[in-house]
Structures are given as structure tokens and as C-alpha cells.
């Protein structure tokens, strides 16, 4: 806890130790721990029952082993499953109180102070108390009937919606990490966009792992009713620690007839040091379901952080004329590993899916694209276009592409393109000959490589992502 205090600074230096300690439950996982979490969150019985079902399912499951990553075994009994959200008075109120690491990061990103303040504002809200994120927007959103609040709040205030939709896209027994999340999830965000409403704001949550040796298990559920639209942004960071920490989140998206959900992520969890020590294990299940006809779900992700990334934001194209999109940039530098991609499941007629994946590998980075395009027997006229490009920097990095295609309907059209390239000495020299430093040249070439993905991000996020890539690539040349 001392380390956390030192990092957070400000008010933490002068007290609240007891408060912080008392909010953390003992390490290890058993039924009592789950009951305790549920009790602390003042949850209704249905939620506890669901958690326990998930827990018992999880006990019978084993960690997936097919992914192209290596890590020492995770001791699930040596982890803390609940570090309580700090009280509102604990949360930093201004820039001086914000975690030095975030400040340093943004300083490094070169974001001007005013903008920095604004970003820090969003971030801080989300890190220490997801309830307050919702409060920021609540009034504006309430006018149009949008519900945007923490998951815990939704469980208490909108149990009907939770009961109706929770686990309908990612069932509690979907996979090992989803089951674990379902049993112990602490918080997350809930969005409900009513019929015909175009959400007037970009909804944004900034996740941060702050305490040591704690796993983070948040859950997000977004429901877009008929004819509605929402754009949701997710940012993540974590402090520097020697030990690996587990982050196993679940995100479920539900799109009704004629609705659209655009989900963007800039993931910058702590990646470990240049020797591969520490960093976050980011094992995440994200899936959306286009239930209604003509609905659309679009995932855009920029993955620059984490020691290991394991995630496949997917779309189930259940309705007719639905659209699923996946735009991804995954960067691995030093000893980072990423096994990421998507699944596009075509069920309805004339559904279209697009996959654009850009993998960048530097240092000893290991980067894998893994994707599934599945066309069910009744999915007449399914169309998919997949493009996977890999960029290698240096001689020790690696890139792999595993595209799986299962087509059970003859009318389907599935296209796959893949390329692997290296930043050439000639490209670097060309930039340098114009006066551009080698580091900036690499950053520029990589950003160019990612352009097709970045253009799908909301403006500020695109700028942040581009700068983040530059920072993440530091030390990758020379």
C-alpha cells in the first residue's frame, strides 16, 4: 500500500492508510470471498447467485493454452480480488493530486496543459471512482434518457435491465477468464441508449489499476435500443510494478434494429520494463451482438500496453443486413506479447464484416493476429473483407497470422489479404536525409502504417493514440 500511496501522492501522503487498508479483502478466492464482494457492493440476491454459478463453472475450467504467448503459471489464490473503490473524498481533486505516472505520461505525450487537465479530469474520475464518471455527464444525458453509470449502480438501480441482458452475449461460462470475471467482477460501466436516441456525448471511461497485487475485473454492458447511436471510448493505464497483475475484463454490446455502437479502446496498461519484468496480463473478452436488422457494431482498438494481451473483440451478426467492423493496432516492444484479433460470426442475411489489423513488433516483441470468420448455413450473401498487415522493427521481433475461415453457405464472399513488411534502412535514411531524427522517422512510418485504423478513432483519441505509439516505440531503434 505504501507504494500506491507514494505513486498517488497528494492527500494520500497525509493519511487514509486505514481507509485504504480496510477496503482491501484478504488474498485468495473462495465462495466466501465472492459473498463478501457481493455484500460490499450491496447487491441484490440475483447478482450473488449469478456470481456463484460462474464461480462453480470456473472451478471446473482450465486456462486456455492455445494462444501464442508464454508466461509463468498464474496463482489464482495469491491474488487480491477486491480492492474497494476509494471514497469520493479519497479521489484526487486537481492536477497536483493526480498520480505522478499519469502526469509524466501525458507530459511525455506532449499534450498541452489545458488539454492535460481535461484528460486528467476524465481519467481521475474513472480510476478511483467510476460512479463519478457518470455524474459528470448525468444531467445532459438524463435529458435524452441515456443511462450511463457504474455497473454496481446499474445492478442496484436498473436490475431489470441487468437481469435481461447480463451474460446474453458473453455467458458466464464462455471461457476461463470470462467465468472468473463473472464471479468476482468489481465494477465497470453500464450504458443504455433508449430507442431513437443519438447519444449527444462520447461516453468515456478511463480504467486504471491502482493497487498492488490486485486483479482487476471490470464489466461493461452497453445496450443500444432500436435506431439509437452511441460512441464509447475506453482508456487504460496502470502504475509501474515488478509483479505481473491480471486484468480480466468482459465487455458485452447489444445492438437492436437500426442501431449503431462504436467502441474505441486505447489500451496502455503498464507493459513491463525493457527486460520484460512486470506488466499487466490483459486477458479480456469483448463481444457484441447485432441482434436487430441493419444494426452495426464497430470495434476500434489501439493496444500499446500490457505485458501480454489476449483479446478478440467479436461481433455476432444475428440480424439481416448487419455490419461488424474490427480495426486494430497492436504494438509489442521489448518483451511484450500480443495474441489478438476478432471473430465475425455471420448468421443473418447479407451481413457484412470488415477486419483491418495492424500488428507492429519491435525489440523481442511477439505479435499474433488470430481471427475467425464464420458463415452459418443460413447466412445468405455474407461478405467479409480481412486485411492483416504486420510490421517488423529490428531482427528479434516476430509476427504471426492465424486466420480461420469457416464458410457453410455457398453465397458467401470472404476475402483475406495479409502482408508482412519491415521498416527498411532506405525508408529511415530517406526521412533522416530530410532532417528527421531516426526515432521520429520510425514513429512516423509506424503511424502511417496504422492510418487506416486511426482514422476510425474519435479525433482526440486518434491524436493520443499516435503520440502513444511514439512513446511506446522509444528505445526500439539503434
Amino acid at each position: 500500500m505504501n507504494e500506491a500511496k507514494a505513486l498517488i501522492g497528494g492527500e494520500y501522503k497525509y493519511g487514509f492508510v486505514t481507509d485504504v487498508d480496510s477496503d482491501t479483502i484478504p488474498r485468495g478466492l473462495n465462495e466466501d470471498v465472492i459473498r463478501l464482494i457481493s455484500k460490499k457492493k450491496k447487491e441484490p440476491k440475483f447478482m450473488l447467485d449469478w456470481r456463484l454459478k460462474a464461480y462453480h463453472r470456473w472451478l471446473k475450467m482450465s486456462e486456455p493454452e492455445w494462444q501464442n504467448v508464454v508466461h509463468p503459471p498464474i496463482d489464482y489464490q495469491d491474488m487480491i480480488y477486491y480492492s474497494a473503490p476509494k471514497s469520493i473524498t479519497d479521489a484526487p481533486k486537481n492536477l497536483d493530486e493526480v498520480d505522478q505516472e499519469i502526469l509524466k505520461t501525458y507530459e511525455k505525450l506532449g499534450i498541452p496543459l489545458v488539454e492535460q487537465k481535461r484528460l486528467a479530469g476524465v481519467a481521475v474520475d474513472a480510476i478511483f471512482d467510476s460512479v463519478s464518471v457518470a455524474t459528470t455527464f448525468k444531467d445532459t444525458l438524463k435529458k435524452v434518457g441515456v443511462i450511463f453509470c457504474s455497473f454496481s449502480e446499474a445492478v442496484r438501480n436498473h436490475p431489470d435491465l441487468i437481469i435481461k441482458y447480463l451474460g446474453t452475449v458473453v455467458p458466464y461460462g464462455d471461457n476461463f477468464f470470462a467465468a472468473l470475471n463473472s464471479a468476482v467482477f468489481s465494477d465497470g460501466s453500464f450504458c443504455y441508449i433508449p430507442r431513437g436516441v443519438r447519444c449527444p456525448l462520447e461516453l468515456s471511461t478511463y480504467f486504471r489499476i491502482n493497487s498492488a497485487e490486485t486483479g482487476q475485473f471490470e464489466r461493461t454492458l452497453i445496450i443500444a435500443e432500436e435506431g439509437s447511436y452511441v460512441s464509447y471510448l475506453e482508456g487504460c493505464t496502470a502504475p509501474i510494478r515488478d509483479k505481473n497483475q491480471l486484468h480480466a475484463a468482459v465487455v458485452e454490446l447489444i445492438a437492436m434494429k437500426d442501431s449503431e455502437i462504436k467502441y474505441s479502446t486505447v489500451q496502455n496498461w503498464y507493459a513491463g520494463d525493457s527486460h520484460g519484468k512486470g506488466g499487466i496480463y490483459n486477458f479480456v473478452t469483448k463481444r457484441g451482438k447485432c441482434i436487430g436488422d441493419r444494426s452495426k457494431i464497430s470495434w476500434t482498438q489501439v493496444e500499446t500496453g500490457s505485458a501480454i494481451t489476449w483479446k478478440y473483440p467479436s461481433v455476432i451478426l444475428q440480424g439481416d443486413d448487419t455490419i461488424g467492423e474490427f480495426y486494430s493496432v497492436a504494438l509489442t516492444n521489448h518483451y511484450q506479447q500480443a495474441d489478438t484479433g476478432t471473430k465475425m460470426i455471420h448468421m443473418g442475411k447479407n451481413a457484412r464484416s470488415t477486419i483491418i489489423s495492424k500488428g507492429i513488433s519491435a525489440g523481442h516483441g511477439r505479435n499474433t493476429y488470430r481471427g475467425l470468420v464464420k458463415v452459418q448455413p443460413n447466412a445468405q450473401g455474407a461478405k467479409n473483407y480481412t486485411q492483416c498487415d504486420s510490421l517488423l522493427i529490428g531482427d528479434r521481433s516476430s509476427a504471426n497470422t492465424f486466420p480461420y475461415i469457416e464458410v457453410k453457405n455457398k453465397t458467401a464472399s470472404v476475402e483475406h489479404e495479409a502482408s508482412t513488411s519491415k521498416i527498411s534502412e532506405d525508408q529511415l535514411f530517406y526521412c533522416q536525409q530530410r532532417g528527421i531524427s531516426e526515432e521520429n522517422a520510425v514513429s512516423m512510418i509506424v503511424n502511417g502504417f496504422c492510418k487506416e485504423v486511426f482514422k476510425n478513432l474519435p479525433m482526440e483519441f486518434a491524436v493520443e493514440a499516435a503520440k502513444l505509439l511514439g512513446v511506446s516505440l522509444e528505445g526500439s531503434v539503434g
Binding site: 535514411f429 533522416q432 536525409q433 531524427s437
Partner: protein, 250 residues
């Protein structure tokens, strides 16, 4: 401005330049001519700092600095520009973005303020007109999908925007039709001034119909075997490189 003394250069153990001596003063235009494989492009690349070459002997002074010890980007910021024979493509990076980044890194080095987007685009548009490039090229990725001629024009455009003190043109004329050749030549002539120097590396004399050099040097097998004024270029065109080889041998 540029003093090359006894320069020997190798690539992968093969000696390409075998003792080059050359002095270029401010305001001068020098043409380096020679048959294929004579080492003229090597000379251009070594001056710009291409990492593939090893200088085994000799020195190069540029504006009283030891040029060979400077990193390529520092040479560029000090005013050395190379127009490439084969300009590379940089997918996803727009011409305007690339050039603005380059110009601003150079300006920062010289202690000048960075140009903002508006001022930069103004300058860029102006210069694009000079090389007869459509303004749409500003937003296209650097050299991607450009024809050979468009790439060369783009090199000249970059040169006009960056306003180097020493411009080295590496076979910029190769593969150009007559119209493009004229555009390239007028770009170079526009840059010509009493405080700049230009080094033109070329196989053919025809570019020199439009850019009058002060000096012409003939490079054969890694050595300058003959130097003269613009008349030398005409003689070469007429008699071919064999003539130089023979007269050098005799």
C-alpha cells in the same frame, strides 16, 4: 563550402571510390558525370550519410565541419540535401505531413520557430505550382503510387521547400520525359544562388542543356579522371565515355 580530400569508400569490402578530390565553392554548380558503375551515385550517398558505405580514407569538410562525423539528419539540418535516384514510398504518411515534419525539425535545429500548418501549406502550395504538381499530391502518401516522373518532381519540391545550402541531385534526370526534365531543371535553377552550391550527378548530358554547370567532372572507376567546363559535357555526349577512358589512359 565543400572540400573532398582523397576520399576512399567501400561497400561490403569492395572499394568503389578510390581517392576523390573535389572543391565546391558557394554559388557554383558542378556536374559529376560518368559511365554506369563509376561510383557517382556512391559519392552522392556518402555525402548524405547513407549507412551502407564505409569511408576508409580521406576527409570531407563542409562549411568548416567534418561532414563524415555528422549523423545523416544533422547533415540535412546543416543544409545538405540529396534528391534521390529512387525515392522511397512511405505509406500512410502524407506528403504535406512529411515535409512539414522535416522542415520543422530543420528549423528547430537552426533556432527558428516552427511553421504552423497554415503558413506551411501556403509555402507548400506556392512551391507545388513551381514544379507543376497538382495540389492533391499534398495529401497523398509520400511517393506512394507516384509515377517515376512524379517522384522526381516530388524530390525537387522537397528541395525547394527545404532550401538547402548544398543540393546533391543523384541522377534526377534518369527516366524523365522532356517536360518533366524542364520542370526539374527550372526548379534547380530557381534554387541557384550565390550562397548555395549544387552538385548534379548524371549519366547524360541532356539535363545540362537546361542547367548550365560551372564545372564538369568525369568519374571513371572511382576516380575523377577529367575536369572542365560545360564544353566537356558536350564532348562526352559526342564521343562517349570510351573517349575519356582512352584519354585518361594515355
Amino acid at each position: 563550402m565543400l572540400e573532398i580530400r582523397h576520399l576512399h569508400v567501400s561497400i561490403e569490402g569492395n572499394e568503389i571510390l578510390k581517392g576523390i578530390d573535389l572543391t565546391v565553392r558557394k554559388g557554383e554548380v558542378h556536374a559529376i558525370m560518368g559511365p554506369n558503375g563509376s561510383g557517382k551515385s556512391t559519392l552522392a550517398r556518402v555525402l548524405a550519410g547513407h549507412p551502407s558505405y564505409q569511408v576508409t580514407q580521406g576527409e570531407v569538410r563542409y562549411q568548416d565541419k567534418d561532414l563524415l562525423t555528422l549523423a545523416p539528419e544533422v547533415r540535412a539540418r546543416e543544409g545538405v540535401f540529396q534528391a534521390f535516384q529512387y525515392p522511397v514510398e512511405i505509406p500512410g504518411v502524407s506528403n504535406a505531413y512529411f515535409l512539414k515534419a522535416a522542415l520543422n525539425e530543420q528549423r528547430a535545429f537552426r533556432g527558428q520557430e516552427e511553421l504552423d500548418a497554415v503558413d506551411f501549406l501556403e509555402t507548400l502550395k506556392q512551391k507545388m505550382k513551381l514544379v507543376e504538381m497538382d495540389s492533391s499530391f499534398a495529401n497523398r502518401p509520400v511517393n506512394e503510387g507516384f509515377s517515376g516522373g512524379e517522384k522526381k518532381r516530388n524530390e525537387i519540391l522537397q528541395m525547394l521547400v527545404l532550401e538547402p545550402k548544398l543540393a546533391i541531385l543523384d541522377e534526377t534526370d534518369s527516366g524523365l520525359d522532356i517536360d518533366a526534365l524542364k520542370v526539374v531543371a527550372s526548379g534547380v535553377n530557381r534554387l541557384r544562388s550565390p550562397d548555395r552550391a549544387i552538385l548534379i550527378v548524371t549519366h547524360y548530358q541532356r539535363l545540362l542543356n537546361y542547367i548550365t554547370p560551372d564545372f564538369v567532372h568525369v568519374l571513371v572507376d572511382g576516380r575523377i579522371v577529367l575536369s572542365g567546363d560545360k564544353q566537356l559535357a558536350f564532348q562526352l555526349e559526342e564521343k562517349g565515355y570510351e573517349w575519356v577512358r582512352e584519354s585518361a589512359a594515355s
